[in-house]
């Protein structure tokens, strides 16, 4: 729990803050911002791999949230509602920039669908030795389409049907992209490990 959540969340619960924010109270907006800023910013940063762009998107996501907070009726969790909005802001921005969310090229790659045995290749397992920094670096090196689906599913926890709707692809395509992303990550991580092992 962040300091902000401790200091402000204790003073004003999320439900109270939502109701007060609907009436235009600044402190309530601030409480909601501090409660959710890390997750929204983390998402934006990973999607864009750029801190300035991530802050712009985070700002836009929260502004959209606060503009629409009067329509929040509590049918879903507030965090779900906010996060969905943040994802949509990011996706909208990427579309504006013309970046393919799921590229045809990546979709048509099929050689990674099935695992290949490489005779003589050392099969060192990642399990138990994988750390956060290695994974972050590998995610940054993923092609954008793979990265998007991997982040939404494995990092953010969305289901394939939700991803398909958000990104505008089929459920099968989402599953395929996710699998390819994981395979690519495994390859990147093993390559990175092998390079480090050969360094003096």
């Amino acid at each position: 729990m962040t300091d902000a959540r401790k200091s402000q969340g204790d003073r004003l619960s999320e439900a109270e803050a939502i109701e007060r924010a609907k009436q235009g109270h600044e402190e309530a907006f601030e409480v909601l911002y501090h409660l959710h800023k890390r997750r929204v910013y983390s998402l934006c940063l990973r999607m864009t791999a750029n801190t300035a762009a991530a802050e712009d998107l985070t700002q836009e996501a929260f502004l959209q949230l606060f503009r629409k907070i009067g329509t929040f009726r509590g049918e879903s969790a507030f965090s779900t509602w906010l996060h969905r909005m943040a994802v949509n802001v990011v996706l909208m921005q990427l579309r504006k920039k013309g970046l393919p969310l799921v590229s045809l090229e990546e979709t048509m790659e099929t050689e990674e669908e099935s695992p290949k045995k490489e005779p003589g290749a050392e099969d060192v397992r990642l399990a138990g030795s994988l750390n956060r920094l290695q994974l972050e670096q590998a995610i940054d090196d993923l092609p954008p389409g793979y990265r998007m689906v991997f982040l939404l599913h494995d990092v953010e926890g969305y289901e394939h049907n939700e991803i398909a709707e958000m990104v505008g692809c089929s459920i099968g395509n989402s599953k395929s992209q996710l699998h390819k992303a994981r395979m690519k990550l495994r390859e990147l991580l093993k390559t990175s490990r092998a390079e480090k092992a050969t360094q003096p």
Binding site: R39, L63, P115, K117, L135, D154, G157, M183
Partner: protein
């Protein structure tokens, strides 16, 4: 089941949910079981990445400024009530914000007097204000004066974590004002330059207002 067959169904598998045939294959094939183990390890580690980055402290200030401009923040006094202000404490502390307000007001008046007379007052109705620059991009003109230091000290005494954010905003807005003033001086009849200057003053006034709210006991 062969490795090829297992590879074809692998994208459809979720977590450790495998049917009997797949389980049997995994028991006998170290290659496929190693692959599944690696992919699960990647997924498990990915879950830990969901919430580990912190935006800069100044981001909230930018959002608050935009909220005020859009009129979404409607009742600053209510914010003070949320902070738990009590009348008794206010009685003791009223001199502090009033003094700051007077200092800030005087500074703004002095600056407004320095604007060329051609500046149309109507331009004050700004429609959009550029986003404050980051501290990294702020030049020498961003130096903060004694009054601002005093204000920052008050903020720091109430909310130490917010001081750096407000200082960054003040430096950025000071640099913005300096650039805008230079533009107006060089092009006294340029309506856009005058508009930028008014916007810059307005932005600083908003930062002052937010900082003073933060500095209240």
């Amino acid at each position: 089941m062969t490795c090829e067959e297992f590879g074809r169904v692998l994208p459809e598998l979720e977590g450790d949910h495998h049917n009997i045939e797949q389980e049997e294959h995994l028991k006998t094939c170290s290659f496929c079981s190693g692959l599944v183990s690696d992919l699960n390890a990647i997924s498990a580690q990915a879950r830990l990445l969901a919430e580990d980055q912190e935006p800069s402290p100044r981001l909230w200030n930018s959002i608050a400024i935009a909220l005020r401009q859009e009129g979404l923040i409607r009742d600053p006094q209510a914010s003070a009530r949320l902070l738990g202000l009590r009348l008794g404490r206010w009685r003791l502390a009223w001199l502090k914000p009033v003094t700051i307000a007077l200092v800030v007001g005087a500074a703004l008046l002095l600056e407004l007097q320095r604007i060329p007379r051609e500046t149309p007052v109507a331009q004050q109705a700004a429609t959009s204000v550029p986003v404050i620059g980051t501290a990294d991009g702020v030049s020498q003109g961003s130096a903060i004066d004694a009054d601002q230091v005093q204000l920052l000290n008050l903020v720091g005494s109430r909310a130490p974590a917010m001081r750096a954010g407000y200082e960054s905003d003040l430096r950025a807005v000071n640099a913005y004002i300096r650039d805008a003033e230079t533009s107006v001086r060089n092009n006294p009849n340029d309506a856009i330059a005058q508009q930028y200057l008014m916007n810059a003053y307005e932005q600083r006034a908003m930062v002052y207002e937010m900082a003073m709210n933060r500095a209240l006991p």
